[in-house]
Structures are given as structure tokens and as C-alpha cells.
């Protein structure tokens, strides 16, 4: 405990007042050592998974929310250690009234402050309508529809800026939730899909440098970097299966620290022997030519059902 701050645990590395308790390791960290720890874990993951290579042009999906903000800040901080790498920020404006405008403004300011080239693409210009219009009467499917279209929009944006990698801000909580959701749905192909390093030239590899960092640590990191912004929550999250899974998993992690990491390890163990045949079996969508597991890709199939 810190004698000047009664009741406050101290950093296990330097005895300064702690700002976080890492439950799985049992360590307390001060602000400076938490920042160092996160930067080091992200750098290690990028290196061990071969996420970024010399000469890469990395498109960073920047919504302006907390995870993508942390991702861009971390990649910028690691840039001196990455040889001849360029970062370009891409923001997708889905058209969600009362929500997206605030995060787009935050994204614009951040990219400008960091001196990062920034591009914005909207659903209306790409798909003909905003997400709000697409979702009229289909609100309960919001996250599936948005997810499919947003992935496509990011892929288009990444191609437009000649990116060689597409980085997203998915954190450990997001990834562990996805594992559990895919198990609940019985969706084995999606569970083991690895679009990171081996794309076999069929799409721009997508990388997730924050995928082992807990959401809470990302939030504290942003506070420490004076980059925390209180932004609105997406109005469609209340319909999401993910919301229920998040609550269950978060309670489980609280009672059994390490659960989320164990889920990720489980996925990795079954991913390696299974991924290559799935990528090899991809062919081209008959309408847009993008890689697809069936004759018509998810995006073209969805746009047809939405009346386009």
C-alpha cells in the first residue's frame, strides 16, 4: 500500500500508486508501467504473428471510438520500430443518426493531431443507403447487417489507398466474445477463420494488434494518454446477441480470471490445422468478384435481400 494514499495498492515494478489490477497475473501497475506493458504486448504480438512487414502500407480502421483510437495511438508509438511502414486511417460512416457524427469528428481530430492521412467512406456512396434506412423493420439484425457491410466498406477503403494490411481495434473481450458466439451458433468455419497473415492473395490481410489486450486496460490506457472521450453508445447494440454474451463472459472473467485468454488459446489450437483448407476452398463471387465461400458473397446476397 502507498503510505501517502491510504488503501491504494502500489505498482509491483516501481511502488508508485497503482492504476490497475491485472486480475489474471495478480499484478498491480502504475500508469507509466501500464502504458509500457501494453505497448510491449502489442509490439510482441505484431512481431510473433508477423502482422506488419517492412514496406507495409497499413490501413487503420478508425471509427473514432475507444478501441480504434487506442490502436492508432499504439501503432503511431511503435512506428519508429517498424521499418518503412506507412499508416493511413479509414473511417466508415454507416449513417447512424445521433451516434456516428460524434465519433467521426473525434476520428478527424485524432488523425489530424497525429499527422496521419485520413479517408472517410459512407454507406450511401458505397451501397446507396444509410444503415438507418437499411435497418427499418430489421433492427434486430442490425449488427449482422452492419458487420457485413462495414467489412466490405473497409476492404474497399483499404484497396483505394493501396494498403497491404488492414488493422482493426478488436480487443481481447471482442475476440473472446466472438469465439463464444460462433460456438453458440455452431459456426465452425467462422470460428477458425484467420484473415490475418495468410490470405493467399485473395484479400488484404486483416490484423488485430489489440486482440490480447483487455477492454478495461484499453480504456485506462486512453485515460492515461488524455485521449479518453465520452462518446455515445451505438443505438443498435441493445438488439445484439453480443451484448448478452459480453455480460455473461465479463461475469465469468470476473469470477475466473483468464477465461477470455483461455478461449483465445482454444481457438488457436483448432485454427492451425483447419484454416488452410478453408482459404483454399474460397472462390470468387459471381457479382462482385470478391473472395467468397459460396457462389454469391455475403455482401451481394445481403444487398439483394435489402432490395438493392
Amino acid at each position: 500500500m502507498d503510505p501517502n494514499n491510504p488503501g491504494l495498492p502500489v505498482c509491483f515494478r516501481c511502488t508508485a500508486p497503482a492504476v490497475i489490477f491485472q486480475r489474471d497475473s495478480g499484478h498491480h501497475l502504475c500508469g507509466a508501467h501500464l502504458v509500457e506493458d501494453i505497448e510491449s504486448r502489442v509490439a510482441d504480438l505484431i512481431k510473433t504473428r508477423g502482422m506488419i512487414a517492412p514496406g507495409d502500407r497499413v490501413a487503420v480502421a478508425l471509427s473514432g471510438g475507444k478501441d480504434s483510437t487506442a490502436l492508432l495511438l499504439l501503432l503511431v508509438s511503435l512506428l519508429p520500430t517498424l521499418h518503412d511502414v506507412k499508416l493511413i486511417a479509414i473511417t466508415i460512416d454507416e449513417g447512424i443518426a445521433g451516434y456516428r457524427d460524434a465519433t467521426i469528428t473525434a476520428a478527424e481530430h485524432l488523425a489530424c493531431d497525429l499527422g496521419i492521412e485520413h479517408h472517410c467512406i459512407s454507406f450511401p456512396e458505397l451501397f446507396g443507403n444509410s444503415l438507418d434506412v437499411f435497418l427499418k423493420g430489421r433492427e434486430t439484425q442490425a449488427c449482422s447487417i452492419c458487420g457485413i457491410l462495414r467489412r466490405k466498406a473497409l476492404a474497399v477503403g483499404a484497396r483505394q489507398v493501396s494498403a497491404t494490411k488492414l488493422a482493426t481495434g478488436h480487443n481481447l473481450d471482442d475476440e473472446a466474445q466472438s469465439v463464444l458466439m460462433n460456438v453458440f451458433r455452431g459456426d465452425l468455419p467462422r470460428l477458425i477463420r484467420n484473415s490475418g497473415t495468410d490470405s493467399s492473395g485473395k484479400f488484404i490481410p486483416r490484423i488485430k494488434p489489440l486482440s490480447l489486450i483487455p477492454e478495461k486496460e484499453i480504456a485506462v490506457y486512453l485515460m492515461l494518454k488524455n485521449a479518453w472521450k465520452e462518446l455515445p453508445e451505438c443505438p443498435y447494440t441493445r438488439y445484439a446477441l453480443r451484448r448478452e454474451v459480453r455480460s455473461v463472459l465479463s461475469n465469468f472473467e470476473y469470477k475466473h480470471p483468464g477465461t477470455m485468454l483461455h478461449l483465445m488459446e482454444s481457438r488457436e489450437k483448432i485454427e492451425q490445422p483447419c484454416t488452410r483448407p478453408i482459404i483454399a476452398s474460397l472462390h470468387s463471387c459471381r457479382e462482385c468478384g470478391d473472395p467468397s465461400s459460396s457462389d454469391l458473397c455475403q455482401v451481394c446476397s445481403l444487398l439483394r435481400s435489402l432490395g438493392r
Binding site: P9, F21, H28, K216, E253, Y254
Partner: protein
């Protein structure tokens, strides 16, 4: 102590010194879903807070 919740809801708690974690659980909050500050400084959830402290709870927003 004064507890300020994310929605600006302020509560005065008559509590003996107790870990933040215990106060959050009693308020129905999972400590993993929030960040907590005491008198303006970030603190871990196992910090013991006292009668004169002002505790602010910030929910980590999801989505986006």
C-alpha cells in the same frame, strides 16, 4: 463517501472503509465494466476507500 455513477447519479454512502470492488458489487456493477477514480485519480478495484472520498465510476462504452 460520495459515489458518482456514470449517468451523473450521485449517492452518499454511509460506509466503513471498504474495497471499491465491494461497493461496485453492492451497486450491481461488474468491476471489469468500469473505470474508477478517487478524488480525480485512477484506482484499481481492490483499493480501500474511506468516508471522505469522492468515487467516480465511468462505464466503458461499447460499440463503434
Amino acid at each position: 463517501m460520495k459515489l458518482i455513477l456514470d449517468d451523473r447519479d450521485e449517492r452518499i454512502l454511509k460506509h466503513d472503509p471498504a474495497p471499491v470492488e465491494q461497493i461496485l458489487r453492492e451497486a450491481g456493477i461488474n468491476p471489469l465494466d468500469v473505470i474508477v477514480s478517487r478524488n480525480g485519480n485512477l484506482i484499481p478495484e481492490d483499493t480501500v476507500v474511506g468516508a471522505d472520498d469522492v468515487i467516480r465510476v465511468i462505464r466503458i462504452a461499447h460499440g463503434g
